[in-house]
Symmetry: C2
Subunit: 686 residues, 2 copies
């Protein structure tokens, strides 16, 4: 076979051909280097995989998991597709050496994958590289005219950053183990390698302590993981090449600890589990030796349970009010020359860091922990930005970026995608300092997520962050990323993620009917408000007891329909749209114009629909505007100025959040009005 | 509150009104008696349930399960909706006495449910009745304009038959435990109370025996349930009011036993697990004492593991060839005066029945076991029909109907629904004899099911069988049943059943693309061939190794779209269709006519689509015919005879199965051609 060496442009979608058809595959995350070859390797029931070189239980389970996925993807029974001798196998896996007993930061994850029509070969230094390569193989497998197949190809791949994480906050809302497991499957599919488990919060202490059982007995509403469950999850993650880093937030964000152990707090008790959201006053008392004695016992217990080298102590958002109000603490600060609460927290962190180190672990904390008196081996996780990360790196600290990766803020994937850990001040670091930036983590804070909708908040957007952390820095094409995201989103369906499947049942509940076509048309083009606007514009304060059953809870953080519509509109305005695209724009607008009359009958039968009536009316009005603009464009007539002014006012009104929803098709319709009238819309009011 | 006593017509859809809106609820299975009252009980976060009267762990778990379901249905967090004192509770559960330690056939399942705007009361003799009533409550809960609510109502309910089962064959294809569990949830939702677990087959022995470990080690391909898993499933079923009856098929259907224990067989070994489908020759040797010694050990072990009183020994389809060929067996038969193989099997059954009884169990078997020499306490499960059931009842045997309830045959729900256990010869039994007909079981034989599509073969059609077995005999309105079925189908989505959610991923695999709109339009109107036609018309013999990834595996056994279209067409022909309905018929036909051109691009890129090309072409042709007929009807012109003749030929061709699929819209289009031409279609060729 003659290999055709086409070095692909990075970030472009690449195309491969079999004898009969051209097909597109957009791997996500994009590998470091890809060469297309000719032909394809057919995958049928006789497909087999064999291990040569080093083998161990971890690798064998990785191979079995791969076969399970491949069987699921192709629909062949569990009896087919076997592990065989490497000499006979269609896919030969070669691994040089064992991984460490406990997965470590920075272990080699590189791999090379060569596929020819006769067979495939996957080489890696360790099982971790094999796991990553097997995921690439799965993404390459497609239905073709000749059967399931992977294209002939040569891939060399390795991650850009060694720490690529997803944090899930199980404190504010408890997230059951099976939900976490399916999200670990999703992480593995996009080559993320750290699950950061935010286990304690004001609203709940979520893990069993045998030493201090009142933590979970009084601080969790009965919603916590047993130690056996934790071990089970860690093993599950390990089999997928994922480290598990626990976080116990201290000295703030810790009200739930104080329900059972009020003596840890800086203010008088008793305490109750918080039901509201926000930053609360209770904080541990850093001046009492009993606090450190407790933490020594607790951290010692948890350090044994969690094998990972890193141990996250939180450290964020201490408002200091309890410290200010406690005369003993004030006396202590004075006696120790601690000038302010930051100094006091630094004192606390120094003590805690010694405990963490005593138990053999390396401390991780949020931005606030960074003080020059801490040893250089700690890791700072930045929610404040690249500049703060750069400042840490300059001081010799290692860091992780989470600023820009908060998936609870409902940003579009492209916005997360544009955030690079080594940008801003970090771009000017020396190579050695840059090395200290270990990667980043997507963060799923859980004020507004339940087991039902959490997957839809994490996926598929987190895959864009995964690509940012794995792929080369110059992989930045947004359209290509979105294409990959769509593939990944559908692939995650196979793995049991519910980001797609939970949507319609939620809409049926809201509609109070099985006929949700009108509600779906509506919900497809709205998004939840962004950032922290949900809290800011609410009339009823949300708590951990609030049902999460509204349209805002079902609506996707990013509307695929609105994005596609905007692309079509932009093409149309730029004169790049063919007649089919023009027709599609008109068809969408017509459907939206008419949707309100279809939605109306439901509105009278469901209390959950009442709040969207004005948004649905806006959609009809905006669509009517869009159709009028389109008519003008079609007739090549300039729309009258007065009409345009009127429409701009209407659109501005429609762009305001209602029911905490944003109508995502209003901005592209505004561009249509601009194009049809030659007028520029006035800037939105401050 | 003034109660409005409207005694509803049974089987009609009943309508209730809140202050602001009329709503329809169609409970399934239909309760024995329903009285509507005025108003509704609102269900919000403060909803609570309390137990008075008898309480025990089983009842408490039933109440917790109910709350979990209600929370899921309404989207409220797990912290809300509590179990409280009965005095404060919105729903008061009153149960008279404990159930038996092991659930028994015929335990009281009746309940009465009274709901007023102030609160609800659920009374039952036992926890079983409470479980059934709680399911009714869940079916009543709806989204209304005033919040979630149940209507004010009074229901008296009890089952018609005490044995209402679902059999799942896990031998031909192994079905993992989680899949069984979600199907138990589905069973509980429609008040089925027996899970019949068909655990051994020629293709696999699916349970761990500690006494005879070669059974699973050599007979299962590693796909079996451990005894712990079995106990876990039994407990899961118990919490849902479901008995678990194991079946070990003998002396035939037992090749998988002989792989590890060839000495049990009547012919020389060695044996291998069967991969093909059908009836095979190997059968246990009924003439050897070692056979009974083995069965004594094995049945003893299983009788301890399965607490249920009933123990199924299969007994069906012994072809007798191994017996004919074995001279020792022939000698034995001669010596014992056994005239034929039926006599020999009766001898075997008599021996096995004694072993089953020795271990404290009552024997169940398929039709073939029925011989007058067996004691009267055995139960006969009839796959042959009501006449055979009646014959058994006349002889004093109890019986179960499964004839007409084989869900693997892909019948429409209405056809199963029309099958009544007490009809045919059974209708003429004396009251005492009728009492011996215990009920029936839906049977899911698993030649063509995988974990991916099994739910879609069982649900929602099994719910129609559940209604037949629970509700009064005069509940027979098919349209009403279908309406209930649709509700249940959507409700089962909440429980995690995958009969709906697996459809689109399967289509995406087949299409090799995320764009499945054309494939879905097509697949929505085809059904798998019925009965055993799949085997009869295949060109490649299917085995347990065959992938189940074709359109026939994704297509639903009953096309909802085709049924609705047929209803519209019939209304149109009868002059009952309004203009909207007429438009809908035309819109469907237009869509189908144009679908082939949308499907075409996919056909060149997927090997799984090639086989449907002719069916898709048929769909386009049939739709074109339909549109022509519709034009004539609209214009009130009589279509020419020659045209009609031509179309009948085309339709007859289109009704022939292709790719083992049936085009379900061909028959209604034929009726349109008949109506437009005044011609009668010729009868289908033999």
């Amino acid at each position: 076979m003659r290999a055709v060496f086409v070095v692909l442009m990075l970030c472009s979608v690449f195309v491969f051909s079999s004898a009969t058809e051209p097909r597109q595959v957009r791997l996500l995350p994009m590998p470091a280097s890809v060469q297309m070859k000719t032909g394809q390797l057919v995958i049928d029931s006789l497909f087999s995989i064999g291990i040569n070189g080093h083998s161990d239980a971890l690798l064998q389970r990785a191979v079995e998991l791969f076969l399970d996925n491949l069987r699921r993807q192709t629909g062949v029974p569990r009896l087919d597709m076997k592990v065989t001798d490497a000499a006979q196998a269609k896919l030969v896996v070669h691994c040089e050496r064992a991984n460490r007993a406990v997965q470590e930061l920075g272990e080699d994850e590189s791999y090379s994958l060569e596929i020819s029509p006769a067979g495939a070969k996957l080489d890696a230094v360790t099982s971790l590289g094999i796991m990553r390569g097997l995921q690439t193989f799965l993404q390459l497998a497609r239905t073709t005219s000749d059967g399931f197949a992977v294209p002939a190809i040569a891939i060399q791949d390795k991650p850009r950053f060694p720490w690529r994480g997803l944090m899930i906050d199980v404190g504010r809302h408890f997230i059951p183990l099976d939900v976490l497991k399916r999200n670990l499957d999703g992480m593995a599919a996009v080559k993320l390698n750290v699950f950061h488990w935010h286990l304690s919060e004001n609203q709940g202490f979520r893990i069993e302590s045998k030493k201090f059982p009142k933590l979970q007995e009084m601080g969790s509403d009965g919603l916590y993981y047993t130690q056996n469950e934790v071990r089970n999850l860690i093993a599950y993650a390990r089999d997928r090449g994922i480290r598990v880093v626990p976080e116990f937030d201290m000295p703030g964000h810790s009200t739930a600890w104080f329900v059972g152990y009020p003596e840890l707090a800086s203010g008088p008790g008793p305490y109750q589990i918080e039901r509201k959201w926000g930053v609360f006053d209770p904080a541990m008392d850093p001046t009492q030796e009993r606090t450190y004695k407790f933490l020594d016992g607790f951290i010692g217990e948890m350090a044994k349970l969690f094998p990972d080298q890193y141990f996250h102590i939180g450290g964020d958002e201490v408002d200091g009010k309890q410290w200010d109000a406690n005369p003993n603490i004030q006396t202590f600060m004075h006696a120790h020359g601690l000038k302010n609460n930051q100094d006091l927290q630094a004192y606390f962190n120094t003590r805690v860091q010694k405990i963490v180190r005593k138990h053999g672990k390396t401390m991780v904390g949020w931005d606030e922990i960074l003080r020059p008196d801490l040893p250089k081996d700690i890791v700072v996780q930045s929610w404040r930005g690249q500049d703060s990360l750069a400042a840490a790196a300059k001081q010799g600290y290692r860091g992780l970026l989470s600023f820009g990766y908060y998936v609870d803020l409902n940003w579009p994937a492209a916005r997360h995608y544009a955030v690079d850990p080594i940008s801003g001040a970090a771009a000017n670091l020396s190579p050695e300092e840059k090395q200290r930036i270990l990667g980043g983590e997507a963060c799923m804070w859980s004020e507004y997520v339940s087991p039902e909708n959490i997957d839809s908040r994490i996926w598929p957007r987190t895959a864009a962050i995964a690509e940012r952390l794995w792929s080369r820095q110059d992989v930045t094409d947004v359209n290509s990323m979105y294409q990959g995201l769509e593939n990944v989103s559908r692939w995650l369906d196979w793995l049991g993620l519910t980001h797609n499947s939970s949507y319609e049942p939620m809409l049926r509940r809201i509609a109070g009917s099985n006929d949700i076509s009108a509600l779906r048309t509506f919900t497809d083009v709205v998004e939840p408000v962004k950032d922290y606007t949900r809290e800011e514009i609410t009339t009823v304060e949300a708590t951990s007891l609030s049902p999460l059953n509204r349209v805002i809870d079902a609506a996707r953080p990013e509307s695929v329909t609105a994005r596609r519509f905007a692309d079509l509109v932009d093409a149309l305005i730029a004169g790049r749209a063919d007649s089919e695209a023009k027709q599609e724009v008109r068809a969408w607008l017509t459907r939206w114009r008419d949707n309100q009359s279809n939605l109306q009958p439901l509105e009278t039968q469901s209390f959950l629909l009442k709040e969207i009536v004005p948004v649905s009316q806006d959609l009809a009005a905006v669509a009517t505007t869009g159709l009028q603009a389109l008519d003008c464009i079609d007739r090549e007539e300039r729309a009258p100025d007065a009409w345009a002014t009127q429409q701009f006012a209407l659109l501005q009104q429609a762009e305001k959040p209602k029911a905490q929803l944003l109508l995502m098709v209003a901005p592209p319709v505004q561009r249509l009005v601009e194009a049809s009238s030659g007028q520029k819309a006035p800037p939105p009011p401050k």
